[in-house]
Symmetry: D3
Subunit: 252 residues, 6 copies
Amino acid sequence: MRIGVPKEIKVHEYRVGLIPASVREAVAHGHEVLVEAGAAERMGVSDDDYRRAGAKIADTAAEVFANSELIVKVKEPQPKECAMLREGQTLFTYLHLAPDPKQAKALMKSGVTAIAYETVTSAHGGLPLLSPMSEVAGRMAIQAGAHCLEMEQGGRGMLLGGSAGVAPANVVVIGGGVAGVNAVRMGIGLEAAVTCIDINIERLYELDHRFGASINTIFSTRQSIEDYVLQGELVIGALGETHVDAARAIGA
Amino acid sequence: MRIGVPKEIKVHEYRVGLIPASVREAVAHGHEVLVEAGAAERMGVSDDDYRRAGAKIADTAAEVFANSELIVKVKEPQPKECAMLREGQTLFTYLHLAPDPKQAKALMKSGVTAIAYETVTSAHGGLPLLSPMSEVAGRMAIQAGAHCLEMEQGGRGMLLGGSAGVAPANVVVIGGGVAGVNAVRMGIGLEAAVTCIDINIERLYELDHRFGASINTIFSTRQSIEDYVLQGELVIGALGETHVDAARAIGA
Amino acid sequence: MRIGVPKEIKVHEYRVGLIPASVREAVAHGHEVLVEAGAAERMGVSDDDYRRAGAKIADTAAEVFANSELIVKVKEPQPKECAMLREGQTLFTYLHLAPDPKQAKALMKSGVTAIAYETVTSAHGGLPLLSPMSEVAGRMAIQAGAHCLEMEQGGRGMLLGGSAGVAPANVVVIGGGVAGVNAVRMGIGLEAAVTCIDINIERLYELDHRFGASINTIFSTRQSIEDYVLQGELVIGALGETHVDAARAIGA
Amino acid sequence: MRIGVPKEIKVHEYRVGLIPASVREAVAHGHEVLVEAGAAERMGVSDDDYRRAGAKIADTAAEVFANSELIVKVKEPQPKECAMLREGQTLFTYLHLAPDPKQAKALMKSGVTAIAYETVTSAHGGLPLLSPMSEVAGRMAIQAGAHCLEMEQGGRGMLLGGSAGVAPANVVVIGGGVAGVNAVRMGIGLEAAVTCIDINIERLYELDHRFGASINTIFSTRQSIEDYVLQGELVIGALGETHVDAARAIGA
Amino acid sequence: MRIGVPKEIKVHEYRVGLIPASVREAVAHGHEVLVEAGAAERMGVSDDDYRRAGAKIADTAAEVFANSELIVKVKEPQPKECAMLREGQTLFTYLHLAPDPKQAKALMKSGVTAIAYETVTSAHGGLPLLSPMSEVAGRMAIQAGAHCLEMEQGGRGMLLGGSAGVAPANVVVIGGGVAGVNAVRMGIGLEAAVTCIDINIERLYELDHRFGASINTIFSTRQSIEDYVLQGELVIGALGETHVDAARAIGA
Amino acid sequence: MRIGVPKEIKVHEYRVGLIPASVREAVAHGHEVLVEAGAAERMGVSDDDYRRAGAKIADTAAEVFANSELIVKVKEPQPKECAMLREGQTLFTYLHLAPDPKQAKALMKSGVTAIAYETVTSAHGGLPLLSPMSEVAGRMAIQAGAHCLEMEQGGRGMLLGGSAGVAPANVVVIGGGVAGVNAVRMGIGLEAAVTCIDINIERLYELDHRFGASINTIFSTRQSIEDYVLQGELVIGALGETHVDAARAIGA
């Protein structure tokens, strides 16, 4: 199969559909891979790195789209990209179509077969292409929250873990899914006082079993959310699968 | 040396100065050991156990006191026992003389050389005979506190560690010495939310380093004690070396 | 829906079907909640707490039963309560009918639709209303066992975790289900030497994986139970889902 | 004693010499405390909070300096402050005189008795007023380093702890003192691959004993520093007691 | 049912189909058990141990095979044993038929009903008779690898865990199944720097969640295997369910 | 200073006095280093590695001894080496003179100033050159013991950590010094049931505090040693500073 990897063009997207190691896998399985020039240079990966892995380099995105049966990307196709898709071609990327009817229509019009990463399901019912995003989002939420609590950033001037003789910050994670549990891990790792609120008692049981005395698990009710959010110095909403908001890093 | 081990006569004292394993050590070092009949029977240790370890059994305490150069006991000598002590004899036991001038006078009058366990100091400045009592006291404090929080005992009906979805009890340990740190360990072991308050910042640093996210260490001020004691479901005073009070296991 | 919450009348039952936070949830979903006066006062929750959560207060149980489509309780209905149930009404509570044919007949006669908490099954096959009881039972078993081993209670005078230089107690937990694993956690938390015996090798594998060097997992045979029970200072039977017996806290 | 607490005037210093809880302690010991108006308002602490703790409020720094026997501050006195100090008065604050001869001369000229926090030594040889600064510095170094590795900050776009299937960052901490060990703890807490390099083998032994498989301890030589710094994505110099530099958070 | 337990005759096989505790279970369920004389003597278990458990002892394997409806063994039947099997009889043992067509034909010819341990599947899809072998294999792999790295064995003279100031060995475990995860546990237990490579991202997530900062989980590609195998001092292939090879314990 | 590093000539000694990284340090401090050709080749370190670090290579040991003010070695000098030492020269190596009067006399005769590694004491009273040997010895003891328990080596066929459903081995470590504590760590790491016996109650307290439920600490008496040694599958004597014996890995 001819696989094409265009450079991502959405703002602030520095990643790429296939890294050289993945290209090498595809080539070893008998596929051809065509990568747009400079596709991963912002990650410190050169065209030569791709060539060594067995890819060919195309000068333009147009060339990639024109010559590939399968297009592998990261973010949803931008209008300019949708215009290059065609029937008989397959697109493999995150789509997140629900809030984006424009894109949905453009894809339907193109006739492409589009497979959304976020819907790929494993044999055990997991979402192996979505979960890693939730992992990263949950971990980043703590890092971003810690940063926002610094006084220089307008925060309260608190260290998440406090220090000897000084109380840690109360971190409240709402939602104990993949994003939530990763926020919990990092929050405990920085020695904060972490509470996780969820409506699924079986999930809370797993968290309690895993983190023991380091976590406070709370069943979700209007009352409990109100109580804990009011005493939290950092509140992280981890309700959707990948969407994480550090909603309230308290300022002075 | 002739060593004597009388049966303890203070109320609720079930222990004994030397257990058979200790007798065996003493005998192996060339000493003679004389144990009062039935000295350890309430611990499930028979006179024959002592005989097998190399001791001789005396019928009465008087016989033990009369024939021993060194008397090894657990608790401070009771008036009846003081009357049997004499010059040239050594007494080795807990004395706790400070609040007990009567005993002090009786000992002085007897002429005995009395060595208090609680004052024996190791090469590194530790108190190897007192510390184990503090260890036990600190551990028992959590056990006793957990018991008192049961509703059947008039408590608030709380499990120290809560359960999945239910918050744990706040356990506040005032004092981070040997007794305090053992209360902390057991409190964390039962998955309570443990705070330790101490005026020694270096000690708090050690506790923070050892227990990480599982402990909240707080520098002791009037304000912090007031704040934490008011929110504690179980408050343990661990200020003296062995004295531990579960001062406030909250009732309904 | 009109939801009724009578005061529990079974001896030693201090809990209540809905706490104020649950009432608030129900009201927010458009239901009416009628709570018997004083229903939770022994837990320190007043009628005004319920009113603030949106409930109405009824003077008598009869009023609650008469005006509710759904009755939410804790324990199985007592004969007096069964007499107030009627066709068209739903009862939601623990029933434990197996050993209680009298209650079964009374319920059938009343015509009520009774849903037993202990039979509610989650999407993953768990028992989300029964498991928390097992959690509590398993945790309490260690607390009760530790108490029974105190010499003042007629026990052997042993701390579960021993102390420096003194061996811990052998705690044997028969059954590695929810109750058993919670007994195991608390036993390890108090630093006892814990053995868990089960006939399910996959469950033992999970426990071994979770607790590592802190647990001894043993496949259940007549021989292994005999061997371990004989050397156990505290033996906990955790065979049924909620039933836990501290069968043998050894006395002197 | 009359104690004075002026507002800090050094740029970016938001802290204050005594918080209300400390004022309460001082007052309880019979001292008078005079606090400059607005001294802690940027920390969210009002003059009324100080009044409730027993302090009096002075309108100006000049009033505080003129009426106090002991001045308690955070940072070294600025020239304007030095000019208000006088013989017979004591100044208690961080001084860090070594690189600041101007200040040293101004203090000598004033005739004040100045006690530097950083030189206060405990009975065990520790530096109880300096160590907490090192704790904070070491913990902040990881937080700052993690932030700098974000691609948006010009970093390499790496999470310190990686994620499932993706390697963590190599964090190299040079120096295993108070600052270093706190950087190590936070780095391990965020699940990075942490190496600590020190020239003191006994200190490395302590770290190895405490962090086991989670840390790599390396004896410091030119060769080992060169080897590890070259492979580190985040290198933290923790050599002085409080000075910590995140010297090299690798960009793309 | 009449159950027969012959002595294993395959070279280096010291185990036995049923140990006395298992015999006791079978007898308690109403079965008769016939054990070949000396069947477990190399494990330190005598014929009298079997008699006490309720077994009868047969002088020869022939007698066992002739008089049993069910034969319980450890290893696949050797040709001599196949010749004693017959129609109507059941054989319960590890068979591993795939690479062994000779055995397959001999079994088919005998008419016996043979049930392979390695194919027995639990209600949850696990392999409860195969997994314990993988556990042992994974644990032994680390032990064997550590031994092979000793200089006396021709290895590099490295301790898996290094020591204070000296880096640990890099242990690379390829495959995160039961064997792999047990190798990981023991490798971390000895404080090595452990990397686990697997193609199943969900399995890597579980490992990362369980072992946190102590493990490096890597998604399997040609590139990642190449990279890690080249820097590994001990490489363990744990790809099959029970097959584990310590492929590369590096010599000098 | 001129520093000489001869090749070790004692049987089974593969190490060398200075590795290239140490040579580089010495040279950076202005010293000259002369290394015997092939000194470290059995460790995989070439003469060129030494040259790159700044050393000169000498063809013979005689040349090294003749031209160096300081000789740095690993093992005590053999008679041939003693003959090359001379007054005015310093020897730095392990000497262990106590059981070796011949060496002592040869050294005295040579007039060399010999400094034994094992006597170098740190500011805190530690033995920084001896302790690492004890660390290695303690860790190796577990590795060697695990190997000896394999049935192929004539052992009992036990895994130290057992497996799910199968009890671990009892490992008894006599002595809780540096060697003992490292044996304890590795024993717990392999998930054995570890008991440590010591006569120093303060040391036992530290071990109990560090290893909690994973260790059994026992005060040393004739009785306790007898009891535990009899039930231990692996008994490790760690009494001297570096001397560790795996005295009793039980065979069948």
